[in-house]
């Protein structure tokens, strides 16, 4: 019974997977099959349409820039140079390719090359670790730090760094915002005392939060050998993103159904019992709504903050590729864009699923 309910809830959470799951599940229900087939077909058609438009757009931009280059060569160096340029572009030589919006195929190729690169780096890393195994064991035995691989990070490492940072920031936001939210939710006077604070700091831009955190962490870490980019970025992410949880928690706690409070009063529940048996469970749905917003805000601001903090995540990757200006840099930026979007989507689905699991009112799903 319980299993079935969680399954149902997950379905409503993962609408995306639901389509696939329901095709498999409802083999016997013809209606459902045709419905979900139709839905899937519409999705596929829209994806194809999107890819087609993208392809045409990038082609037009490519042609425009190619024409401009030939024109420029003609003006500056004469007809011979223009012919050479035209031939060069047509030959597909990377040196003279127009640098513009990459086409879907280029982005796909970049993605594959990033994955191949990851395997390459992984192999190097494994080889390095194997080589250093005995040396490291000795170092550790002597109480010294082991030597770790410090080569270039692969794309997958970069993504993992970003996910690690966002979860650390999310946890920080949760640890700060939920208890404070509960406390100020319980007391109207504390709520008005904190109100100005929340109203003023809530709209502050991620960049400014980063600078503030930088000021503090830089001083705290003076003399410490470890790299503080990770600390700075996750703390900034947490501070930027915690406000939604803080406000939602305070609201949830302060607006518990009056009937429940009356029941608690009639039974003369103690403060501890009242908070943990009545107030917190009834505000859980709102707290999780806040946490869901917090996680998506955290993922959004992460990119900007990583860029500023020089933390080796997706934000820095995008920025470095832009600065780099290599032939496939633009394609890599678009790859990063899709990866950011897809991970953001999955994180949101994850939170929605958890939210629906803790929500006692089944009609409340968003």
């Amino acid at each position: 019974m319980k299993q079935e309910i969680t399954l149902k809830k997950q379905h409503s959470g993962f609408a995306f997977f639901k389509q696939i799951a329901s095709i498999v599940k409802s083999k016997f229900e013809k209606d459902a099959v045709s419905k979900s087939l139709k839905k899937t077909a519409i999705t596929i058609v829209s994806i194809l349409l999107f890819l087609g438009l993208w392809h045409l757009g990038s082609k037009a931009l490519y042609n425009k820039e190619a024409a401009y280059r030939i024109e420029k060569a003609l003006e500056e160096q004469g007809p011979a140079a223009a012919d050479a340029e035209r031939a060069c572009i047509a030959s597909g030589e990377s040196r003279c390719q127009p640098n513009t919006l990459p086409s879907p195929t280029q982005v796909w190729a970049s993605f594959m090359s990033l994955i191949a690169d990851h395997h390459l780096i992984q192999a190097k890393k494994d080889a390095f670790n194997l080589k250093m195994e005995s040396t490291n064991a000795k170092l550790i035995a002597q109480g010294k730090k082991a030597i770790v691989y410090t080569g270039r990070a692969s794309f997958i490492d970069i993504v993992l760094t970003s996910i690690k940072t966002v979860f650390a920031g999310f946890l920080l936001a949760l640890i700060i915002a939920v208890p404070i939210g509960v406390i100020i939710g319980l007391s109207p006077s504390l709520r008005s005392a904190f109100n100005w604070f929340i109203q003023i700091f809530k709209p502050v831009s991620p960049v400014v939060w980063y600078l503030l955190v930088f000021m503090i962490v830089k001083t705290l870490y003076i003399g410490a050998s470890s790299d503080n980019a990770f600390v700075i970025s996750f703390v900034s992410v947490g501070l930027c993103a915690m406000w939604a949880t803080l406000v939602n928690t305070a609201m949830g706690v302060s607006s518990v159904d009056k009937d429940y409070i009356n029941v608690a009063k009639v039974l003369k529940l103690g403060t501890f019992q009242k908070v943990f048996k009545v107030i917190l469970p009834s505000s859980l749905p709102l707290i999780f709504t806040g946490l869901r917003i917090t996680l998506s805000v955290a993922w959004m601001v992460l990119i900007a903050i990583e860029l500023l903090a020089q933390s080796p995540g997706l934000g820095l990757f995008v920025w470095e590729e832009f600065q780099n200006g290599a032939n496939d840099s633009n394609a890599k930026i678009i790859v990063a864009m899709f990866v950011i979007g897809i991970i953001g989507f999955l994180l949101d689905r994850l939170m929605l699923t958890i939210q629906q699991m803790v929500s006692f009112n089944k009609n409340e799903g968003i």
Binding site: V263, V266, L267, K268, P281, F360
Partner: protein, 275 residues
């Protein structure tokens, strides 16, 4: 305590203290005022009512006359503007489990099962008895209201009527001195209402807890009550009339309907409401 008092009447002893009267609940010159920008609004004034031990009193009156205000003042959920309320001679100062309340909406904690909802009260009122015994108490009352198969169902999985059954079980399980019912069946369809009235009266016959119940339903008022209290319309509402229903107990719906005084009682109430 003077030695002259004989212990023949045990019902007058509560925790070893002797009370000279059989009055359970005493409302004296009760007044309720809500301040508004246009001046004070007096809901209740000079309201006097005495309710005896083991008595079932229903309160009937027009909507908005202050019935619920009065009940929530007895429950301690609403402050008293003037006069006083006492339970067994002790003035009411805030809510407490000696006055169980069954609210109009079932007010169950939706994240808890039926059993947990009842246990919430039982654990609070009987913290010193073993856990198993507390669970047994909760299960006993859930059984009494006919929810044998639904102990572990979440409150949200139960129908409105079943939720209110849990509400009844929760109120009786904490063994209050007074039971306050605020239109508990108002939101139910008439079939379910009848069922729940039967359940309520059956448990009440056994436990004999002093009960005060607000209702809009004339038949319900007569069926359940020893006395029907009629309140005048607000503002400044007070007790308008009291009708004693001395039909023999235990009652069944049929015996009440066929009682020779039933229609006279009914007419009395309707005349009052339509005056």
């Amino acid at each position: 305590m003077s030695a002259t008092i004989t212990k023949t009447d045990n019902t007058n002893f509560e925790n070893g203290i002797y009370y000279p009267s059989k009055v359970m609940l005493d409302l004296i010159n009760l007044k309720k005022v809500y301040p508004t920008p246009k001046g004070d609004y007096v809901v209740l004034e000079n309201l006097n009512l005495q309710i005896m031990k083991e008595e079932f009193v229903t309160i009937i009156g027009h909507s908005g006359c202050g019935k619920t205000t009065m009940l929530s003042m007895i429950a301690g959920l609403n402050s008293i503007s003037g006069g006083n309320i006492s339970v067994l001679g002790n003035p009411v100062k805030g809510p407490g489990p000696d006055r169980g309340v069954i609210f109009q909406s079932p007010s169950l904690m939706p994240w808890m099962t039926a059993l947990q909802n009842v246990l919430l009260g039982v654990n609070q009122v009987f913290p010193h008895i073993p856990k198993k015994q507390r669970v047994d108490i909760a299960k006993y009352y859930l059984h009494k209201v006919g929810l044998d198969g639904a102990f572990n169902k979440k409150a949200t999985e139960l129908s409105q009527g079943m939720q209110q059954r849990v509400g009844i079980a929760r109120a009786f399980a904490i063994k209050p001195k007074v039971l306050l019912l605020d239109e508990p069946f108002g939101m139910l369809d008439s079939l379910t209402r009848g069922e729940l009235q039967d359940i309520l009266i059956e448990i009440w016959n056994k436990e004999k807890i002093t009960a005060v119940m607000i209702t809009h339903d004339v038949d319900e008022a007569i069926f359940l009550a020893d006395r029907v209290v009629m309140m005048t319309s607000g503002p400044r509402a007070k007790i308008g009339d009291v009708l004693t229903v001395d039909f023999e107990r235990p009652r069944t719906r049929k015996s009440v309907l066929e009682h020779k005084d039933y229609y006279a009682c009914r007419k009395h109430l309707i005349d009052f409401l339509e005056h």
